[in-house]
């Protein structure tokens, strides 16, 4: 595998996309995440100059929403700058439509951590309040305070955010776990929402959320064994997302990561998985596609590389399966947690004195 060609593929996406990709205008942050984290997993961050790292960090911060005192609890990050106005006339404002979006908040914080930012400009308190405010009575989470759907994907994003900021605030973990358990299907997988069909992506979301919230023990051994089999039965060379669906590169991550989390990845077939992922590689332009012979995209490139990393492909950094970032970035995050803890201890001490 030629690492450089894939790293350059990602850096092209960091620069400029053709207008035919305008339908991704609202989720530019996630493409930024795939590219930055992808370059990191390729152990090629040196490809980005200090200046371009700083530019990425600054752009990410321009997506942050700082809620007004006493107003809507909409803290978090937006996916793009669509609502950021350039030289607006007086009294022109789109602020009331700027809401943090859980998927964007998760990926933005991840990018900051990967690039070595200390998160000092992140409004942690407002974000955690925002996460708690979009939790619903059934335990699931909406993507934002208004205008968006709710399902297992945002249960996962909420868990990532709380874990990364090391604060669950008023998030009801118990209620969240009940939603997850209710979404386990008769075949052992987990659906996107309650009685929908089991799905590889949402099974990952559910399992990672249980792990991140320290609630994996809620799965009994029967559920665990059924889950294990459901996940392993997804392998047919590469992995598929649902029974009787074609295999697709990204499931080498979704299914692979879920198996890693429950400590069963070693039971999968490494050789066939690896062969499939590599068959989707574009060795000239760079990138990976979902099916052999189709064109690459950043999403499948990122997940293909993470899938290979689980297989201990030489040259790739190890990937932390729950947060979906490199282990190096994960360690950096743990260090930040330590620093925050020290600070808050010092504050308590000062208050006592």
């Amino acid at each position: 595998m030629n690492k450089r060609v894939h790293a350059r593929y990602f850096s092209r996406f960091l620069n400029l996309l053709p207008h035919r990709l305008s339908c991704h205008d609202s989720t530019r942050a996630t493409i930024g995440f795939f590219s930055v984290s992808g370059i990191d997993v390729l152990d090629s961050l040196d490809l980005l100059s200090e200046e371009s790292k700083k530019n990425i960090i600054d752009w990410i911060y321009s997506l942050q929403v700082i809620p007004k005192e006493g107003g809507l609890k909409c803290g978090g990050f937006q996916g793009a700058t669509t609502l950021n106005l350039l030289d607006p006339p007086e009294n022109y404002s789109t602020d009331q439509y700027k809401w943090g979006h859980l998927a964007m908040t998760y990926t933005c914080i991840a990018v900051l951590v990967i690039l070595g930012d200390d998160l000092s400009r992140v409004d942690r308190k407002a974000i955690i309040e925002g996460v708690a405010s979009v939790q619903r009575d059934d335990g699931s989470f909406s993507a934002s305070v208004e205008g968006n759907e709710f399902d297992m994907r945002f249960v996962y994003c909420a868990s990532c955010i709380c874990f990364m900021l090391n604060d669950w605030g008023n998030v009801d973990k118990k209620l969240m776990s009940q939603y997850i358990l209710k979404s386990i299907r008769y075949d052992g997988g987990v659906s996107q929402h309650l009685e929908n069909e089991s799905h590889g992506g949402t099974t990952f979301c559910a399992i990672a959320a249980l792990q991140l919230s320290d609630q994996m023990h809620l799965l009994n051994s029967k559920q665990m064994e059924k889950l294990k089999r459901w996940l392993l039965f997804r392998q047919d060379g590469g992995f598929q997302g649902r029974p009787n669906k074609p295999i697709d590169t990204c499931y080498s991550f979704w299914i692979g990561a879920a198996l890693k989390i429950i400590d069963a990845f070693e039971l999968s077939n490494f050789k066939e998985n690896r062969e499939y992922i590599l068959s989707c590689q574009d060795t000239i332009v760079g990138g990976f596609s979902k099916w052999s012979g189709t064109s690459s995209d950043p999403f499948h490139t990122y997940f293909g590389l993470c899938g290979l990393s689980f297989l201990r492909e030489p040259g790739l950094l190890e990937v932390q399966p729950c947060l979906n970032i490199s282990m190096r970035a994960f360690e950096r995050l743990k260090n930040l947690h330590k620093i925050w803890q020290l600070h808050s201890q010092m504050e308590v001490q000062l208050n006592i004195e």
Binding site: D58, T81, R242
Partner: protein, 356 residues
């Protein structure tokens, strides 16, 4: 990743900045900062439409022309949830006929059947109207294009459950399963409907035969096997309570079928029998079944499901460990459970997700 279709606009399209009726509006550019990342080389039209969208959003204009502008903005990017949100606010403010909107969003869904935002919009409009009479037709149309479209199934399930539209659903599912017995989405929907209609012993019996008949048609089909197994495990049922199924699977095996799903089913069935005999100290010989479990796992590992070689070896290991625990008996087992909880499988608790 799908592409935007800027080309959908007809030739007489005029930029907003050239439209006289928009001359009173001050378009506002996007502030992408001095060094944007993942920048998009927007088309002229995209920039024009979104400059005007920012303006009406910032001034809270809720008018007919603003509504039309959102249509253009969404045609350029149907995933922009702020535009959808604002469109709903305009619809509300102008007290628009929501049945027209239902028609419009159906067309958008047909163009973007795998976009979350368009389905969400549909759902909100249906909720506002409190009328889901068109949802089964719409989702059927979308499922005609792709019978496994997750969004369509999710929407359909929501409509059925919220508006109690269960009546003809089994017939619809039956049609889909007849067309493609491997359609896992349809099997899942069947389970969903049955659970809501009530899984009485009679229903379970009927459905077991439904599944077995379809397994007879195509034996190597994970979807029908999972459905069968799910039914048997539902509630407090165990496989051995259904002698029909036992006979059916053993006959399949004896006729020479070696589908991994059949063999896996037999592994589970004989595992259950072995452990049950040990736990209850009954007079049968558990080792007859225990040998079958190991033999079947070896067959799977070495011949019929070699891709999962390591898994089937693991199942043997786990089975042997569980067997030892079962031999000890329930009382002592509880004491050991604390130490080796991960090895205990035969807990009486229900599967949470299905028991409630």
């Amino acid at each position: 990743m799908s592409d935007s279709s800027d080309e959908d606009f007809n030739e007489s399209y005029v930029m907003y900045r050239h439209r006289r009726e928009w001359s009173d509006v001050h378009p506002i550019k996007q502030n992408d900062g001095p060094n944007p990342i993942v920048a998009i080389a927007y088309s002229e039209r995209f920039l024009d439409v979104y400059d005007y969208f920012r303006a009406i959003l910032a001034t809270q204009e809720k008018s007919e022309r603003a509504l039309e502008l959102t249509t253009d903005a969404l045609r350029l990017n149907a995933a922009n949830y702020t535009v959808w949100q604002y469109r709903r606010e305009i619809l509300h403010a102008l007290k628009k006929n929501l049945y027209d909107e239902l028609q419009y969003i159906a067309e958008v869904i047909e163009d973007n059947p795998k976009n979350y935002q368009v389905w969400h919009h549909r759902r909100v409009i249906v909720e506002w109207l409190n009328d889901a009479s068109k949802e089964l037709d719409l989702t059927e149309k979308i499922l005609d294009l792709d019978a496994k479209n997750y969004h369509a199934w999710q929407h359909r399930q929501w409509a059925i459950e919220t508006f109690n539209l269960f009546d003809n659903e089994l017939a619809f599912i039956d049609k889909l399963i007849a067309a493609d017995v491997r359609n896992n989405s349809a099997w899942n929907q069947r389970f969903f409907v049955l659970k809501h209609l009530g899984l009485t012993p009679e229903t379970v019996q009927r459905e077991i035969h439904y599944a077995m008949n379809r397994i007879r048609l195509i034996k190597n089909n994970e979807s029908s096997w999972n459905f069968l197994k799910g039914l048997l495990e539902y509630g407090d049922f165990s496989i051995s309570q259904f002698p029909d199924v036992e006979t059916f699977t053993e006959e399949l095996y004896n006729s020479g079928n070696r589908s991994p799903y059949l063999l896996a089913f037999l592994v589970d069935m004989y595992t259950e029998k072995t452990l049950h005999i040990y736990e209850t100290n009954s007079y049968d010989d558990p080792e007859v079944y225990a040998r079958k479990v190991v033999e079947l796992c070896e067959m799977l590992a070495n011949h019929y499901d070699t891709i999962r070689y390591k898994y089937w070896k693991y199942v043997i290991q786990k089975f042997n460990a569980d067997k030892e625990l079962a031999k000890v008996g329930p009382n002592e087992q509880n004491e050991e459970k604390d130490e080796e909880e991960h090895l205990v499988t035969r807990e009486p608790e229900k599967v949470n997700g299905e028991a409630q």
